[in-house]
Symmetry: C2
Subunit: 215 residues, 2 copies
DNA sequence: TAGATTGTTAATCGATTAACAATC
DNA sequence: TAGATTGTTAATCGATTAACAATC
């Protein structure tokens, strides 16, 4: 028997898994014991077979005619995403978006725990955001190394983003969640995930434009 | 000659267009006159042909050997996305994320102008966020109709999201930008675009998990 | 049992990539 | 001119969908 290598899965599938998870957690609160792909698919107007394929990658096992046990499926999805072990993260950029992320209480459910905030602006350093003191950028690398931080969140402006990312890489941070609208260069082996609001807005705007035009 | 029907373009392409736009605006500030697909591709580690195909949909015309004129390309992308005409929008949910969006100054560059904020919580009503007064939910439908608002932004919790969306639809809003982690049902013809942070986080988390496991 | 659903293999569809002529 | 780049048609690749046996 071979040790199973970590399975590489498409971005599309990975992005749908949290959708199912949200619904399943809701069902769990309602006391439902089982959930079928057909039902999950209905919530999102997906094809049931798509959901079945997505869940397949998590290794979850269902029961014919009945579906998947909600608790087990939640556990399997979380484990597959790496959300069963909460990872400590640093956030750089105590602006509006940074504050919003710091105020988001549910990240722990999604495997993320923001343990410290940094900002290059001396006027922000020392202030408190959601009970966390904003620390000077200079302290980031030392603390990250000492605390073995793997995840860095970038909520600075486009101008400052590359410098922040460089500092994060030097600090041993392995995965960067970037909210700055700038193309970032990173060394091989570092994970970069961009969360850009304008991408989502572009899809909406173009759809709306076409709708309005065709009237 | 036939009137050209609005072109339907893949989500993938639509989501890459703002990436190019950011870079082009940066190049414009630096005074660069021309940009090639090869160069744009290099910024994102995309294949040059991918960029060429993406730009094709906008109708932008380049010059062999030289590339695309930066000003023209910016104009064509913006026009294609519908960002040349700024749309007024309503935002519902004056929580942390709502505040962050209200504080984001660049939306006007991306065709979006948030003109009013609403919240169901009477304690928030009447407070000011970035110089905008938070209005009671009850006033939303009337104002939306009167002002012919097309875009609604949902930054409430998952619980309240469906009710907000229903109210928006009744109010004549055509396109909904949803940040709540809940599956929403909407009538045909209404545009729904979900901007869920956890989707992006899921990709990052899974990648990190695999990296850490394979060590 | 009958029928809904899972699990799995095969087919389809669409997005990305390749190839190459045209061109400045 | 030579070579980089555009524009366009064709090939490939991967994600989604279809089909269907197994099953509770």
């Amino acid at each position: 028997m071979t040790t199973s290598a970590p399975v590489v899965v498409s971005r599309s599938t990975l992005k749908r898994l949290p959708l199912y998870l949200h619904v399943l957690e809701d069902l769990q609160r309602q006391g439902r014991e089982y959930a079928s792909c057909t039902m999950l698919a209905g919530k999102f107007d997906f094809a049931p077979i798509l959901v079945r394929k997505d869940l397949e990658v998590t290794g979850a096992k269902g029961t014919a005619k009945i579906g998947f046990k909600v608790v087990d499926l939640i556990r399997d999805i979380k484990e597959f995403l790496g959300w069963h072990n909460v990872q400590d993260a640093f956030l750089v950029g105590a602006g509006n978006l940074g504050k919003a992320l710091l105020g988001y209480k549910d990240f722990e459910l999604y495997g993320l725990n923001i343990v410290a905030v940094f900002d290059a602006d001396p006027r922000k350093v020392g202030t408190r955001v959601f009970n966390k003191e904003v620390l000077p950028m200079g302290r980031m690398p030392g603390l990250a190394k000492r605390m073995h931080i793997n995840i860095g969140i970038v909520t600075v402006s486009a101008d400052g983003a590359q410098a922040v990312v460089d500092a994060m890489v030097i600090s041993g941070i392995r995965a960067i969640w970037n909210f700055a609208p700038a193309p970032l260069s990173i060394p091989d082996g570092i994970i970069l995930e961009n969360a850009r609001l304008t991408q989502s807005l572009a899809v909406l705007s173009n759809n709306l434009k076409r709708t309005l035009q065709s009237e």
